[in-house]
Symmetry: C2
DNA sequence: AGGCGTTTGTGAACGCTTGCACAAACTCAC
DNA sequence: GTGAGTTTGTGCAAGCGTTCACAAACGCCT
């Protein structure tokens, strides 16, 4: 608590941008960031790797290795300075500026995303809404007007949008993606259940709610099959219910 | 097309449940399944690993290795029988029965999820809605009544629910998870931005929309830094715009 | 000032995942 | 029936990610 004499960004001055940060690490940094914000609000000034790892739900060794890729921002015998680490991770993730995001598709899901407070509280600003349905164009959602998707190029340019969210039906998603790329968007978060093909240099991440459930379904299936076997794991702490599966194969 | 003389489940009779299927493979099977359904609707009877891989957005070698874990359901020189492969993957994922899902938290996002058609079209049935807000209890959404969360145990038991979706604010999520587990739920899909701690035997998958955007933000950040360097990738096909980043570090 | 307990950063081993490359197996045409 | 062309299934090697275990570094107490 006596060490960080420098304002809020001490050794962060390097403009290097970590071109070789492992993908797995990048995917976990946001989780660490969220845990750190929680700790900061709770009044913590420093936190050990063990404590932060518990708050982020990972192994402490993994956390230390992840953070070591960013440089040495911990103090041996003490832990990590919470505020400094927040600043460092936000810098690496490019969250020092509030990024403008476009949302395409204001249907069932898109409507909810447009009103989701978690975006704005964590570094993003929904800057524009688009839809192709003439019945929805002009509608106001959360203070934003739904634009005709034909206006993508001008609005993307005017608002300096580089990230877009696709929340359209699957059959429209590829066409929307093409138009987004043409307008200059270089990162896409796709909620439509389909594969998008985009040129090199454009990043796509996919969120498919049904796929997540299907993965859980597999594990359920596997677990329920264990009920027919003598408990393989040592302590009988696992709750076993009669097989709900039925497993009817021959129709 | 002359080979599968047996109804719709030929060698699928084995009750074994693939306890050692690699996680990475399990996570891709739903994607293959979706691609296969598309192909079936388009009229394909068979598909090659190359074709299916393209439709699912993966490498063909990876696809073949994934499918080989399920057994040999392809025909050399021909490809895979679409209908047979669909049946096989659905069996492995435990989708032969339509699983009942509970949804807790009927706020902004939960409301949208309750109306999302993708769940019911892909093997799941939203069987019950819950909330803690008295103002929402009793509301009808998509033909379902919102129950008081206190009624979790009875409804979970009555509907044979084993999977639940948490769409509550973060501060309520852990408490909800505890009550779900106590009621007998063994798989949870968590949309709340927080880490859930659950006992062994319970699976949790997490979907955090802000985290996805932050990962994209990192790549945007990295890409925009490249504008200051001579194009490192061979062909200059990458669209480069003047740096939008600003990269202001010292406040 | 010096020793002690604590915590970070990291080398090294391990396991999982991916991608290549090719033999085995199948269809089709003649 | 035979040969040519096609496609699957898989051994193998390389790369990536995770975990262990420990030396180096730090604060604190005496």
């Amino acid at each position: 608590m006596s060490q960080q004499r420098n304002g809020q960004a001490a050794g962060v001055s390097d403009g290097a941008v970590f071109p070789d940060l492992p993908e797995a690490t990048v995917a976990r940094l946001p989780e660490y960031l969220r845990a750190l914000h929680n700790l900061a609000e709770t009044g913590f000034d420093t936190v050990s790797s063990e404590g932060l790892a518990a708050a982020a739900g990972v192994n402490s060794a993994k956390l230390r290795k992840d953070l070591s890729h960013l440089g040495s921002y911990g103090t041996r015998g003490v832990g990590y300075d919470v505020a400094l680490l927040i600043a460092q991770i936000e810098h690496v993730l490019g969250l020092t500026q509030r990024r403008a995001v476009a949302l395409v598709g204001v249907g069932n899901l898109g409507h909810a995303l447009a009103g989701y407070a978690g975006f704005s509280s964590r570094g993003f600003r929904i800057a524009a809404l688009f839809d192709a349905d003439p019945g929805r164009i002009g509608e106001r959602i959360n203070g934003l007007v739904v634009h005709d998707i034909a206006r993508l190029p001008e609005v993307v340019a005017a608002e300096a949008i580089s990230i877009a969210v696709i929340a359209t039906p699957a059959h429209a998603a590829q066409s929307v993606a093409d138009r987004l790329v043409a307008a200059g968007v270089t990162s896409i978060l796709n909620f439509a259940p389909c594969v998008l093909s985009v040129p090199d240099g454009v990043d796509v991440r996919k969120v498919d709610l049904a796929i997540e459930l299907q993965i859980l379904s597999f594990h359920e299936h596997r677990k329920s099959a264990l009920t027919t076997l003598p408990s393989p794991t040592g302590d009988g702490s696992m709750k076993i219910r009669p097989t709900l599966d039925g497993e009817a194969l021959a129709t």
